[in-house]
Symmetry: C5
Subunit: 174 residues, 5 copies
């Protein structure tokens, strides 16, 4: 028996026009990160009407910094008229010769989960954890592989969906 | 010596007629997820008298979103006349070529544990963590394998049991 | 050089006659779990004078539910004249063909640690994490292996020791 | 290029004469544990002037109990005129045939980290995590291996250093 | 397709002249640690105008102590006119024959993440987790390997960037 691999889009058409979204990304393997950020941003603006001026883009050096930056920026946004409705953390980790990859990946995946639960703001885990360069290129929609797909597109969709849903849930609507 | 593998049902016949239950599931590998959700819902309504209108079903894109959604929806239900007595988080993770599977699985299993302990609402861990497609189909009661069994059935039973027991425990009855 | 493998009993003879203890166990692989529970209960009553009526035994479906049940039952006991002095969580996890074993084991070992530190009630980690059926039988004192030993006996002893010691420590006695 | 492997002692000569220290250790593989405890205690008294009557030694059955005991004993010491300035948790884990070693080791290393950060009392991680008996003997300064070294000595030094430094830091001195 | 491996510096030129930074490092494999500390300190003073007297350098014995020391020193700095704007934790872990490396590395990477999120002070993870001596030398800019690069330089840059950015974010500027 076969089945649909991958994610099925929601049947609901989310209206992102009132959302404020943060993308915080690293500056490692930057062509790949930039493609992912572009995919996320373009999806949000073109498919969901998120206003370009409502998408803040911030950078940090590496993936280990992502959870802290997300927490601090969420806090900063709470001092403004509109706090962030959703956050996307984007990074590209590629396995090297030490165990660095493993410990950074574990800390950032746990850290982002912690910050989203602590803050009550949904954070999309947009950190690729690849074993080689080709896998990373493929998942950013780059390179020659036929099955390439820019995951940033999915992350943009997810951010809008979670931003819209969480706004409802926070007002008591299920 | 042999012994009974798998779970032995409780001897007590739980009455789910006053329970309110949330099922939040992903939209990855959706035929499998849908079979699991069906198994959970039908078990709760047909075996335990949970009212269909008291089962809320919500979706998120992927497994990483499950803990956040559970926390937010539990909060939403607390603004209503009846908060959720139990939650089932359902997703299907299948190992791919990167390390994504490992980091998502670890974060979601820890995240769901955190949310249930933080909120005091029992959450059933209904996330399959399979190494290939066949294992996933089998555990959703699909495919050709003779030993196939829909784990959603067990999760529905578990949700009712934990919902009933936790209601007792919260009132001081042991 | 050789040395004593395994645990050396304490030189102190603990008096468990005023302790109230909770055993919460799963219903997976139930003959093994029952042997472990029996080992723990009989050790506490026969070696340490814990009163049978002061040992509460509760069940849950699977190991993932153990931390939540322990937390909720500890809370319930605090509404009674005597709260639990110690808890034993008992389960039997045996590696299967997916990664389920790994993620459940990690979540429950971390979850029980969290609940004991959060609550200030010592919780014995009585969850076997075996690679095959024979290892599980052996550690419940079942089967034919000469080196078989019912770990429930050790867990019962540990529960009494920690219950007695923690009562002292909580009153400031070191 | 070569470099100094292992730890270089601090250039500062710490005065441990006013410190109160707790050693809590398990009773598994007890000759090894006892050698480690002896190494720690003798180092603190002979090299750093820690008063023997200011070193409390407590036991628990196994390594999983160490974080709870440390937390509870720190609390007990806070009801006395002098609370513990540092704690050393000592245990010997040796890989067996199940996955028990892995889950206990992970829980205790995370648990001790949690208790030290929660309490503000430095806790030395003195739990050996060995793959076989020989490694354990070697690290307790026992057996025939030329490179044997009692790690308890390092843990005693570390406890004094952290106790002295933390006392300064808590008063605002950097 | 090729892409830029490694980190791309920020386009912004950060002014570190008003920052106060803490470097806390271990005393294991000390020539390597010293090179890393030197790289971090010199980068901060020469590239970003951090004042030498505003860089505090503290030591601990081993990597497991780093999170505790960071937390305690951050607290100490809060009793002074200027608290730390950023922290760098530096250590060198090299895989040995037991499982010590794995459990220390996991605890310190999770511990530093926890302390930075708890305190609201960015902490750079400057702990090398190498499989052999050569990898460690290379990452401290030592030895003969052509691709050697002192990671301390990157950590110094990261500390200044995060210190400057977090100061902005804390005042509500995004």
């Amino acid at each position: 028996m076969t089945f649909t691999k991958g994610v099925t889009p929601s049947t609901e058409k989310y209206d992102g026009s009132s959302l404020r979204v943060l993308i915080v990304h690293t500056r490692w393997n930057c062509e790949i990160v930039e493609a992912l950020v572009r995919g996320a941003k373009e999806t949000m603006t073109s498919e969901y009407n998120v206003k370009s001026e409502n998408i803040s883009i911030q950078t940090v050096a590496g993936s280990y910094e992502l959870p802290f930056a997300a927490q601090s920026l969420i806090g900063a946004s709470r001092m403004s008229p509109q706090s962030f409705d959703a956050v996307i953390c984007i990074g590209v980790l590629i396995k090297g010769s030490t165990m660095h990859f493993e410990y950074i990946a574990e800390a950032v995946s746990q850290g982002i989960m912690r910050v989203s639960l602590d803050s009550g703001v949904p954070i999309v885990f947009g950190v690729l954890t690849c074993l080689n360069d080709e896998q990373a290129l493929e998942r950013a929609g780059l390179g020659d592989n036929e099955s390439k797909h820019n995951h940033g597109i999915d992350w943009g969709r997810c951010a809008v969906e979670m931003g819209v849903k969480n706004t409802r849930w926070m007002s008591g609507t299920i």
